[in-house]
C-alpha cells in the first residue's frame, strides 16, 4: 500500500498542501483531480519523493520513503512525467532501454519486448524518438517507465502519472488509459493526476478531489461524483447526465446555476 499521512507542505508560510492523507492499494486506479492551484503537482512530487515535506509521512509498503535509498525507491515506484524533452537522437527502443538502469532483470530482452508489446510500441523501435507523434512519445515513455515495475515481485509496485493524457487526442487518451487498466492485474497500484472528469469517471476505481491543499472528498467513483461536491471543488456549475443507452454517467459543465448555491445573480 502507498500511504500518505497528514502531508503538510508550505512555501514561504503559505500552505500548498494543507493536510492530505490518502491510500493507494495495488490493483486499483486512483485519480486525483482538482482545480489549478489546488496543490496536485506539489502533492504528486511529495508522493514520488522529489520533494521532501517536514510534516506528514509517505510510506511505500510500510517503509517510510525517507528510509528508502533511491534504488530501493525506484524498485517500488515508477513516475511518468507530463512532458519529456529528449535532446539527443535516441531511438524509441533506446529510450525504453534506459529504464533498465533501475532494475536488475535476469532477462532484459524479454522485459523490453513485453513492455513494448503492452504499450503497442514495438513497431516504433528503430525510429528516432524525437520524430514520433505526441501519442507515440507518451506510449514509449510509458514503456520506459513500466520497465521499472513490470516484473513480478513479492511486493506491490506503484505507478504515478502526472497528467498523462493532457496533450493527446481522444484515441490516444483512451489507448493510454486502457494500458493502465491492464496493469492492475500485475499487483501494481496506479495514481494519476487528471483534468478530465469524464476520463476519471470511466477508468478510475477511486477519485480524490483536491482543493486548496485539502482533500474535499475521496472514495469510490460513484460516491465522489456528486453535483454539489463537484461544484464546490471546481467553483462551476456541474451537471451529471446519465446516458440511458450505455449506462455511463457524463459530467458536464452546466450553464444554469442551482438554487442551492448562493449567488448574487438571479436566473
Amino acid at each position: 500500500m502507498l500511504q500518505a499521512s497528514q502531508i503538510h507542505f508550505c512555501i514561504r508560510q503559505r500552505p500548498i498542501v494543507d493536510e492530505v492523507s490518502l491510500q493507494l492499494s495495488p490493483g486499483e486506479i486512483l485519480a486525483v483531480l482538482g482545480p489549478n492551484g489546488a496543490g496536485k503537482s506539489t502533492f504528486f512530487k511529495i508522493l514520488s519523493g522529489e520533494i521532501t515535506c517536514k510534516h506528514g509521512t509517505v510510506g511505500y509498503n510500510g517503509h517510510n520513503i525517507r528510509s528508502l535509498k533511491s534504488k530501493e525507491l525506484a524498485a517500488v515506484r515508477a513516475v511518468m512525467p507530463q512532458h519529456s524533452q529528449v535532446n539527443f537522437p535516441f531511438t524509441a527502443q533506446e529510450v525504453v532501454e534506459l529504464g533498465l538502469i533501475s532494475t536488475t532483470s535476469k532477462n532484459p530482452q524479454k522485459l523490453i519486448e513485453e513492455v513494448m508489446e503492452a504499450t503497442n510500441t514495438i513497431h516504433l523501435n528503430g525510429q528516432v524518438f524525437n520524430q514520433l507523434s505526441g501519442g507515440e512519445k507518451q506510449r514509449v515513455q510509458l514503456a520506459r517507465v513500466l520497465v521499472q515495475i513490470w516484473e513480478s515481485k513479492p511486493f506491490p509496485r506503484y505507478l504515478l502519472l502526472d497528467e498523462p493524457t493532457s496533450s493527446l487526442d481522444i484515441a490516444q487518451q483512451h489507448a493510454v488509459l486502457k494500458i493502465l487498466q491492464t496493469l492492475k492485474s500485475r499487483n501494481i497500484g496506479i495514481l494519476l493526476i487528471l483534468h478530465d472528469l469524464n476520463l476519471a469517471a470511466q477508468y478510475a476505481d477511486k477519485i480524490a478531489l483536491l482543493k486548496n491543499g485539502i482533500i474535499a472528498k475521496i472514495g469510490k467513483v460513484e460516491d465522489v461524483l456528486e453535483e454539489k461536491i463537484l461544484q464546490d471543488v471546481f467553483d462551476h456549475p456541474i451537471q451529471l447526465i446519465k446516458n440511458a443507452a450505455t449506462g455511463v454517467t457524463h459530467i458536464s459543465a452546466a450553464t444554469q446555476s442551482y438554487s442551492a448555491i448562493p449567488t448574487f445573480k438571479l436566473a
Binding site: 519523493g49 525507491l73 525506484a74 529528449v86 539527443f88 519486448e113
Partner: protein, 353 residues
C-alpha cells in the same frame, strides 16, 4: 524478436571502436613522419622498430633525436589532450542536455587558463622548470579554475531544476569574458616571459611538449576519462532530465559531481599544458552521434578516439603549413570547427521548423 543490447550489438560497437583505434594509429604514424625536419619514411620506421627491439634499417642519430625527443612527446600530447577534449565535450553535452555545449563555450577552458596564469604569477618562475611543486601545482590550479567556472555557469543556468539553454550560453559568454579579461590583466602586469604569451593561452600550442610532462598529463586525463566511461549509462538517463533520472533510481547529485569534476580535471590539465584549443569538444561528439547514435556507451569512447585523431591531424597541418614557422593550432581547429558549428545551428533551426 527485437534486437536489444545483445552480444551482436556489443560486438558491433567494439568493431567500430577498434577501427577508430586503427585510424588513430595511421594518423599517429603520419604525424611522426612529417615536420620541419625531414626524415625519410624508411628511417622513421627504422627508428620506431628499433625502439621495439626489432632491427629494420639504419638511421642517423639526429633523426632519431628529432623523432623520439621532439615529435613523439608532441604526438602523445595531442592524443591525450585531443581525446580528453572529445570525451569531456561529450560528457558535458550529456550533462547539460544540450548538443551545442563544449568546454570552451561554457567557461571551463578559460577558467582553467586563468587559474593556470595566476599560479605562474604566484610561484616564482626562477625555480627549476620541473620542480614537483610546479609540475603538480599548475594542472591542479587549472583544475580548480575550470571546476569553479563550470559550477558557476551551471548554477547560473539552472531554474526550477531545469537547465535553460539560452541562460547557459549567456552564462558561458559572461564567464568567458570575465576570465579572458582577467588573463589579459594578469599577463599585462607580470612581465615574466615564462608566463607565455596571450596567444599561447587563447590559441593553444603543442610545441612545448616534453617527455617530462607526459606521464602526469596522461594520468590526470586518462583516469577521469575512464571514470566518465563508467558513468555512460547514467549519462544516458540524464539525457531525459534530472527528475526522470532520479525517478529511475539514479543518484543524480552524485553523478553530476562526478561528471563536473572529471571534465574539469581533464580540461584543466589539458589547458595548463597546451593552452585553450576550441571546437574539438563540440565537433567530435556530434560526428560520433551522427554516425553511431546517441548511446553514451559508444559516444564517450568514440569521442575520445576521434578527438585524438582530430587534434593530431590539426597539429600536423599547423606544423606543415608555414614551415619553418608554425600556425597556432587553435586557428586550425577553429577553421574546421566554426563552419561545422554554423551548420549545426542551421540544422537545429531547420528541425525545429
Amino acid at each position: 524478436m527485437i534486437p536489444t543490447l545483445t552480444h551482436t550489438k556489443i560486438q558491433r560497437q567494439n568493431m567500430t571502436l577498434m577501427s577508430f583505434g586503427f585510424v588513430l594509429g595511421l594518423v599517429v604514424l603520419t604525424s611522426l613522419s612529417f615536420g620541419a625536419f625531414s626524415i625519410p619514411f624508411p628511417q622513421t620506421l627504422a627508428i620506431l622498430f628499433d625502439q621495439m627491439g626489432l632491427s629494420f634499417g639504419s638511421y642517423e642519430l639526429q633523426q632519431s633525436n628529432v623523432l623520439l625527443q621532439i615529435r613523439l612527446p608532441r604526438v602523445l600530447m595531442a592524443i591525450v589532450v585531443g581525446g580528453g577534449l572529445g570525451i569531456s565535450g561529450a560528457a558535458l553535452q550529456g550533462m547539460f542536455r544540450n548538443p551545442l555545449v563544449e568546454p570552451g563555450l561554457i567557461g571551463v577552458s578559460s577558467g582553467s587558463a586563468l587559474f593556470a596564469v595566476l599560479f605562474m604569477v604566484l610561484i616564482p618562475t626562477a625555480t627549476a622548470t620541473f620542480s614537483w611543486v610546479k609540475l603538480l601545482g599548475l594542472p591542479f590550479f587549472a583544475f580548480v579554475g575550470g571546476l569553479t567556472c563550470v559550477t558557476a555557469v551551471y548554477q547560473l543556468s539552472k531554474s526550477q531544476g531545469k537547465i535553460d539553454a539560452a541562460t547557459l550560453i549567456l552564462a558561458g559568454v559572461a564567464i568567458n569574458a570575465l576570465a579572458g579579461s582577467l588573463i589579459g590583466l594578469v599577463l599585462f602586469f607580470a612581465d615574466d616571459s615564462a608566463l607565455r604569451s596571450f596567444t599561447f593561452w587563447s590559441l593553444g600550442d603543442l610545441g612545448g611538449a616534453t617527455w617530462a610532462k607526459i606521464p602526469l598529463t596522461f594520468l590526470l586525463i586518462v583516469i577521469p576519462s575512464i571514470l566518465l566511461l563508467f558513468n555512460a549509462r547514467q549519462l544516458n538517463t540524464l539525457a531525459l532530465g534530472e527528475q526522470e533520472a532520479f525517478h529511475m533510481g539514479v543518484n543524480v547529485q552524485q553523478v553530476k559531481i562526478r561528471l563536473l569534476i572529471s571534465c574539469a580535471l581533464i580540461v584543466g590539465v589539458g589547458v595548463s599544458m597546451v593552452g585553450m584549443i576550441g571546437f574539438v569538444g563540440l565537433v567530435v561528439p556530434h560526428l560520433i552521434r551522427i554516425l553511431f547514435g546517441a548511446d553514451h556507451r559508444l559516444v564517450l569512447p568514440g569521442s575520445f578516439l576521434l578527438g585524438a585523431i582530430l587534434l593530431n591531424f590539426a597539429d600536423l597541418v599547423a606544423r606543415l603549413i608555414v614551415i619553418p614557422a608554425e600556425m597556432p593550432i587553435g586557428v586550425i581547429t577553429a577553421l574546421i570547427g566554426a563552419p561545422f558549428f554554423i551548420w549545426l545551428i542551421f540544422n537545429l533551426n531547420k528541425s525545429r521548423n
